[in-house]
């Protein structure tokens, strides 16, 4: 099967070589947060440029960056900036990572709709997540135990939240670590005492997104960075992008590409 697949790719490649005179492949790998953006733009880009093949894979920010360093992908998507270790590693292997911000993402703090709390300060959120506050009455709510939901410590969303809200302090040990945004949204929906955080695309009418420091989690407030829990989403290339990779990055940053970013549930840069 795989052989057949490879052969057909080869035939396709040769065919397009004959037709267009050139066949190019771009491999994109990395963050599942950025995946929808990469996927949508890749489809549109391939429609406009039939001689280009783009493969898009998830796996996580760390995986994408590792692939970029190993030169097994052309573009690494990431929901966080590269770590110092990763940059050192890359340079040691002769790779010069260049960051491109392609979109903005906001982390919304969500509660069960029955919760009376409408606003929390960043400090209150930090105290809840680090274990200094464990009951809703301590922040002006009813006398109920707080069920703290977090993303896994290795996820990009956790890392962004940890930096933006927790000042890199440790999350309390009894926090429930969830593997996806959707899992957090679903659990908050059904758990009266729960608090969780998700990407802005996961806010629904079944959960209550609260204001942070009295700022609502909206597109405008994230773009202007008045909303405290906002973060950029990245695509990394090896060196300044050239050729088709440059065309693709330019496409995402164009008006058309940024519309796709919005379609994917994130916030365009313009």
């Amino acid at each position: 099967m795989k052989k057949l697949f490879n052969t057909s790719i080869l035939i396709l490649a040769i065919a397009s070589l004959v037709v267009a005179g050139e066949a190019v492949k771009i491999r994109i790998e990395g963050s599942t947060t950025v995946l929808p953006i990469a996927q949508l733009s890749a489809e549109e880009f391939m429609n406009a440029n039939p001689d280009v093949t783009i493969s898009v894979q998830g796996g996580g920010s760390g995986v994408g960056i590792a692939s970029l360093i190993d030169k097994t992908c052309d573009i690494a998507t990431s929901s966080r900036a590269m770590k110092d270790d990763e940059i050192k590693n890359a340079i040691a292997k002769g790779v010069t990572p260049v960051a491109h911000i392609v979109a903005m993402d906001g982390i919304a703090v969500i509660l069960h709709p029955s919760n009376k709390i409408n606003n929390l300060t960043v400090e209150q959120i930090r105290k809840i997540y680090t274990g200094k506050i464990s009951n809703w009455k301590e922040v002006g709510g009813e006398d109920k135990k707080i069920v703290v939901l977090s993303r896994d410590t290795a996820s990009g969303t956790f890392e962004a939240f940890s930096k933006l809200a927790l000042n890199d302090e440790k999350v309390r040990k009894d926090a429930l670590m969830n593997a996806s945004n959707q899992a957090i949204a679903t659990t908050v929906e059904r758990t009266p005492g729960a608090i969780g955080y998700v990407g802005i695309g996961y806010i629904s009418s079944k959960v209550k997104a609260i204001t942070v420091e009295n700022v609502t989690c909206t597109k405008k407030n994230i773009l202007t960075k008045t909303y405290p829990l906002s973060r950029p989403l990245f695509m990394y290339t090896n060196g300044k992008p050239k050729g088709v990779v440059k065309d693709f990055i330019d496409f995402i940053l164009s008006a058309e590409g940024q519309e796709l970013v919005e379609t994917a549930g994130y916030i365009g840069l313009k």
């Binding site: 796996g59 760390g62 995986v63 270790d85 590693n89 290795a154 670590m177 659990t187």
Partner: protein, 294 residues
Amino acid sequence: MKLKSEKIIKPVFGGLAFASLVFLLGIILILFQQGLPIFGVVNLFEFVGGKAWYPTAEPAEFGILPLILGTLWITLGAMLFCIPVGIGSALFLHEIAGFRLRSILKPIIEILAGIPSIVYGFFGMVIIAPFLQNLLDIPIGQCALTASLILGVMAVPTVCSLAEDALNFVPKSFREASYALGANRWQTLTRVVIPAAGSGISTAIILGMSRVVGETMTVLMVAGGAAVIPKSFLDPVRPMTATIAAEMGEAVVGSPHYHALFAIGLVLFIITMAFNVIAEIISRNYRLKLGLGR
């Protein structure tokens, strides 16, 4: 002609049989190679006995005691559910059910084994967890109890069919001898058949435990995922398998976190390996005792 084809087939099948050995050795090699470097960062005692799992914090902490206890806690709970149900159904199928009932029930129990674990996980997350949350009035339904119940159900087919095999292995002469001495059916069952099949039943239980310890997707979805030392069955827990599955995708390749996850894999491998060896030893002794040879 026959000789010639045999000459070809022998090494082919021999090679295939050895392929599993190669896979096993390869896996063990990689587990050690990728797992051992963590002990350059923390020592074995800090790793296995440490109470805090903060793999990405600065400085990182790699204590997997809460994860080990999470796994053992869930396994204990699952066994409390699965042993009575699994052994009970094996006894029913073997002793009480007639041929027709048995030919319906046994395939049904075996279908349980064929349901993908993510389906169990989804069922637990959407139905069992909210149900227990309301029933017991606990803050969150994703806890050790929910995971134990679902894993218990998942292990029933393993325990039941192996235990039934063990009962079938008891030679007919044992039973006949017991009846001949005037024992009734109940006495024969409890004093002759079950003791004779005892080690086979123990093997069934241990292999069921092995299944529970290694289960990943279901616990990832229903156990809650809090890396805290469990105090009750209503606490959320984070078993070892769920930790590896949730974090491997995002861990920086070659980092201490990455090696720590492999080392957890190594610990899991040693635990399930121990279970399998114990099961093997028990079943071997048992067959010898019954005079069935190896």
